[in-house]
Symmetry: C2
Subunit: 244 residues, 2 copies
DNA sequence: CCTACCGATCGGTAGG
DNA sequence: CCTACCGATCGGTAGG
């Protein structure tokens, strides 16, 4: 889209499928890890400080309190997935089927590549009302984006579910669920998990092709010719399961 | 099944669709409520004792410690849903489609009718290793029951998903998700939510009828003649959404 | 074998 | 960013 010369100070639009190492302040990184292991209330500020290698007061020099750590992490997370999903939707255009697939792919890629951030969604209960309200508003916006696309697809007959709002909520729940079980050293890559969840989601919203396999949205998946080097059974058998 | 006379001391088999008031020790009831509101680590034993109206030592007379409260609640919950799912599977017989529908219905009914118990699933991280292992084993057993049924249906062609293990995990995640948003005073009854999730789940595992509407597994749902008195749009519009 | 507490205080930790 | 602390509260237990 941007045709400006490379010396333009505008950074190149980060692609929604591209994930580098997570770049957060060390305090946020270790807070994220601790919250993942023990939950928000189960984590002491001394634990976080110890992981970072600083004293407790040093923590409070950088962040107002423990709540600010969680709020910053959750807001960073929801904004990133929302940006990526918007980018995916924009790139795939107005065709509801492709748009839906791109959005689901982008969300699942996020859940897998940013598992530790995405997993914090379970801690929204520990957000103070104002922080929670902002987080939930962004999450609801994501849900509405996806619902609009499903409604558009319904109008065209590419999605047949009679209950699009329920279907979208279920799709988002199953995407979010990826953050609960995905492991980097598991049998499936993030990209493979995303591909599978696109297929599963298409079934949930009632896309005929997802069920009949005609046309196959993911030939590799449907015909069992996955390039994944990890296989727990012969081709034609059940798919390998990710670790828990 | 049981043809014994009524004076038999064997209690009538509790039906898996039947839900009376939750009957737990008052301490467990209030611990459940507190854990729901603030999480395990966010709840003090004094808070629980205060809700019950007893002193803290009185709490420790009945339960060894706070951990035992959570472990008892979670074990009660997973055993109940497992029992009900087994009953549903047994009642619906060996036909994979009906069996799958019955199992999903039983699980979703549990998530809605026993929302506060089912929601504690988010606290497994706070279980000590031994307690967690027993809980996860029972949850895995439920998953295997459902997977066996989906595999059987695949062999018959009633389910077409090429990734049955992923589909089953997604189905269970979306069922569990009901405990996150269902409200008794919401627009949908537990029974309506269960019916919708059976349809959504059929799409996820690739049951052709769920997508083509032929044959319609749930005529009321597919033809928009729901008896629900709550409607947010005219027939043919989008389905009402449950409260958050 | 079960149900049912009290006033006071234990050693440590919480967020700040 | 550290040393030195605070008011209060944590999960759990003492003797009676």
């Amino acid at each position: 889209m941007n045709t400006a010369p490379s010396q333009d100070t505008t950074p190149p639009a980060e692609h929604w499928r591209s994930y580098g190492p997570l770049d957060l302040h060390p305090i946020l990184m270790h807070a994220m890890a601790a919250f993942n292991e023990h939950g928000y209330h189960g984590t002491s500020v001394r634990d976080i400080a110890g992981r970072v290698g600083v004293t407790v007061p040093a923590l409070y020099y950088h962040y107002e309190n423990k709540q600010a750590l969680l709020a910053t992490l959750l807001e960073t997370s929801i904004k990133d997935v929302l940006d990526r999903c918007r980018a995916a939707a924009g790139e795939t255009g107005d065709e509801p089927l492709a748009r839906f697939c791109g959005m689901v792919e982008s969300i699942v890629l996020y859940m897998a590549h940013r598992r530790q951030l995405a997993f914090l969604d379970t801690e929204i209960r520990s957000l103070e009302p104002q922080n929670r309200a902002r987080y939930v508003a962004l999450r609801d916006y994501l849900e509405h984006m996806l619902l609009d696309t499903v409604e558009a697809g319904r109008a065209q007959g590419v999605f047949t579910t009679p209950i699009p709002a329920d279907a979208v909520r279920s799709v988002l729940v199953m995407c979010q669920g990826v953050a609960n079980w995905f492991r980097e050293d598991g049998p499936l890559t993030a990209e493979e998990v995303a591909e599978r969840h696109v297929l599963l989601s298409l079934g949930t919203v009632g896309h005929p092709g997802a069920v009949t396999g005609d046309p196959p949205p993911f030939p590799r998946l449907v015909s069992h010719r996955s390039p994944s080097p990890v296989r727990t059974s012969a081709p034609g058998g059940s798919a390998p399961r990710a670790s828990r």
